[in-house]
């Protein structure tokens, strides 16, 4: 039994935290928040590339560090904690994972080294309207190698170089790679609940594209990518929840009302105990997801769903109750509570809402029970 990160991985985590404390302080996050023209911090993005983090789980043969997914989980937790405003998740959890899952050797050779080097920002463009992603939702079409359709919302779509797009060709779903600088692509920036992360509407009007994976497997592969991303996002969420809990504990120890620290009142104590409980349960589920992801286990779809469901619940609860613990101050622009409140929603929706993942979880459970 060895159900924890190794000492090396823990050391790596400590170093990652130090790095982000220095390079992604809240001033950097607010720099993006307060500037409508910015949807990420370029210096921070460049620094992440220099650290080699973008290629942490990309094999050395493709220009990565080849450390593996456990190390990527460690990075993800720290990114979530720091609210780092960069297109890391779109590029690494979605596009790099899609390439590793479904890409041809040539596609991997073409793109993974660039991703690892920080030369390419990626985005994952599957959704077209409100509701769970299903085959019926996909109206985007490919005919004669040209893509036509609208994807909305696309996280980091306004800054990405490369998109993985879900579309239909001859009625079958398939994933495609699209270089967004090419002709036939227009982008509109969207206003979202979390201005520290960007999103866009992408319109394709006969844009050049190339298939990624087989015809008819688009939705399955998209789900495969989502499973991988769900585990990594769960670590970001656990990191965010942990930091929100820390903020709440710190405030509750130092804020006095009626002559006592508010943290000595059971209403606050028990709220924070519940935050701790949910965060620990989410952490344990995320660890199992990390094991499944890093070992390529058949349990991944179930483990990913469990990790995501627990992480969405934990971060949402921690973010809203951290704000509540701060009282009126928590509702001001100047205090950081709302940054976590916004990010909890962003992370809770970016790979699909918890409701849809609960259905996936139970379907997987039925499959397992039947086996």
């Amino acid at each position: 039994m060895d159900f924890d990160f190794s000492d090396d991985q823990k050391f790596f985590k400590t170093e990652a935290r130090k790095f982000l404390d220095a390079r992604s302080p809240v001033a950097v996050v607010r720099g993006v928040l307060n500037d409508d023209a910015k949807s990420y911090d370029k210096d921070l993005w460049a620094a992440l590339g220099e650290q080699g983090w973008l290629g942490a789980a990309i094999p050395e043969a493709y220009g990565g560090l080849g450390l593996g997914h456990l190390e990527l989980c460690v990075i993800a937790e720290e990114l979530g904690r720091s609210l780092a405003p960069t297109p890391f998740s779109s590029t690494v959890y979605f596009v790099a994972e899609a390439l590793m899952l479904a890409g041809s050797e040539a596609q991997k050779q073409a793109w993974l080294p660039k991703i690892a080097a920080g030369e390419v920002i990626g985005c994952f463009a599957t959704v077209e309207r409100a509701g769970t992603l299903t085959e019926a939702q996909v109206a985007a079409k490919v005919e004669g190698g040209k893509l036509t359709g609208v994807k909305i919302p696309v996280t980091d779509g306004e800054i990405a170089d490369l998109a993985v797009v879900l579309a239909k060709e001859g009625g079958q779903t398939r994933l495609y790679l699209v270089e967004l600088a090419g002709a036939g692509v227009t982008r509109e920036v969207l206003t979202t609940l979390d201005p520290t992360r960007g999103a866009a509407r992408l319109r394709f009007t006969g844009a050049a594209c190339e298939p990624l994976g087989e015809a008819g497997e688009g939705l399955t592969l998209a789900q495969g990518v989502l499973d991988r991303a769900a585990v990594l996002l769960a670590f970001e969420q656990v990191g965010g929840a942990d930091r929100a809990l820390e903020m709440a504990v710190d405030y509750a120890k130092n804020r006095f009302a009626f002559g006592r620290a508010i943290g000595s009142y059971q209403a606050i104590k028990h709220k924070l105990a519940d935050m701790y409980i949910k965060t620990e349960l989410a952490r344990s589920n995320a660890y199992y997801g990390a094991w499944a992801l890093s070992t390529g286990a058949a349990e991944l779809p179930l483990a990913a769903a469990a990790a995501r469901v627990a992480a969405c619940e934990a971060f949402w609860f921690a973010a809203k109750e951290n704000l509540q613990t701060h009282g009126g101050m928590g509702y001001t622009w100047e205090v950081d509570c709302h940054l976590y409140y916004r990010r909890a929603q962003q992370l809770g929706l970016v790979a699909g809402g918890a409701k849809a993942w609960k259905e996936r979880l139970v379907s997987q459970l039925e499959r397992r029970n039947a086996a």
Partner: protein, 406 residues
Amino acid sequence: MDFNDTAEEAAYRAQVRGWLKANVPPSLGARENGLEDPASMDACKAWQAKKADAGYACITWPKEWGGAGGASWQSVIFGQEEAGFEVPGNPFAIGLGMCVPTVMAVGAEADKLRFVRPAARGDEIWCQLFSEPAGGSDVAAARTRAVKDGDDWVINGQKVWTSGAHYSDFGLLLARTDVDVPKHKGMTMFWIDMHAAGVEVRPIHQMSGASNFNEVYFTDLRIKDSQRVGAVGDGWKTSLVTLMNERLSIGGGGGPSHKLVLKLAQDIAVLAGPAAKDAGLREKIADWFVQAEGLKYTRYRTLTALSRGQTPGPESSIGKVVGANLMQDMANTAMELEDQFGIISDPATAALSGAFQSALMGAPGLRIAGGTDEILRNIIAERVLGLPQDVRLDKNVAFKDVPTGR
């Protein structure tokens, strides 16, 4: 049990409705507080004056003070009927609901003569200066100092979460006049001129982006002792009069309803089919419905008590704690239903004009403003259920010795 008006109520309602139809001014398009636009503010004041002249402003106040000497149920009916029209905003609510009634109750005769009628007519606007940064839920922790200097008082300190401070003419100020006695005994109430030198108003930037509240700073603000409202040291007692005068919260919690969730669900698919047929969502809608309906009928019980000439029971205290959490939960569920699309908040693009997104950003404020969830549950437990107070370390000790953690 009868949802219909009594004959008397029906007659009054008909009279009100007729008057409103004849008198509501054409819409300016602007609504509610925070009106920086002078034309909007003028419209508000003109509407208030018209109501005052017709006996529909401050309905329950004595006629001699600009009211109509009417009953609470008349006030309720007027409010219900007025809500059916698009009328100018009401920047007077805090002054007429809380500040001026305090002056009427404990103020000097000269102050009553000077202030009550102009306030009732909307000629002058008041704000309430109680909350402080270090106080939060603990109003009696006010640190803004008033120091006696001859026949004057000199005020220094800061208030926070003051609605309408930027357009108010007068303010009701709770200040600390003695730090050597227990906290509840060393405060005094004053009225101040908000236009005086030494008063600075700064808007608070809320997380939602809006600025509905202000910080108010006092720097060597010098006022006369005649501006005192009530005796020296009676500030806490006086503030309770103000807070008890807080208007019965008759309106709903605001925000989207379960109906809007059903509407959303009709246009959305989840994995198993249309969201409107999803049993999980339907269970939640049922839960929200019984909460919202429960609050509605609880308000009806309050109105019934008023209409029978009784004091409403404690059941009205549950409204905000239920409504605010309901709003947050409903918004979060709706966005989860919208799935990835839910993150879009721009009204032009978001589902249902972003109603749920803006509810999500507003709900945290609603859970805090006017008493946090935690304070309201304390109030229910202590005042309604009669449970003992928590242990208090801030009583029976000089204010300056109350632990503050600093």
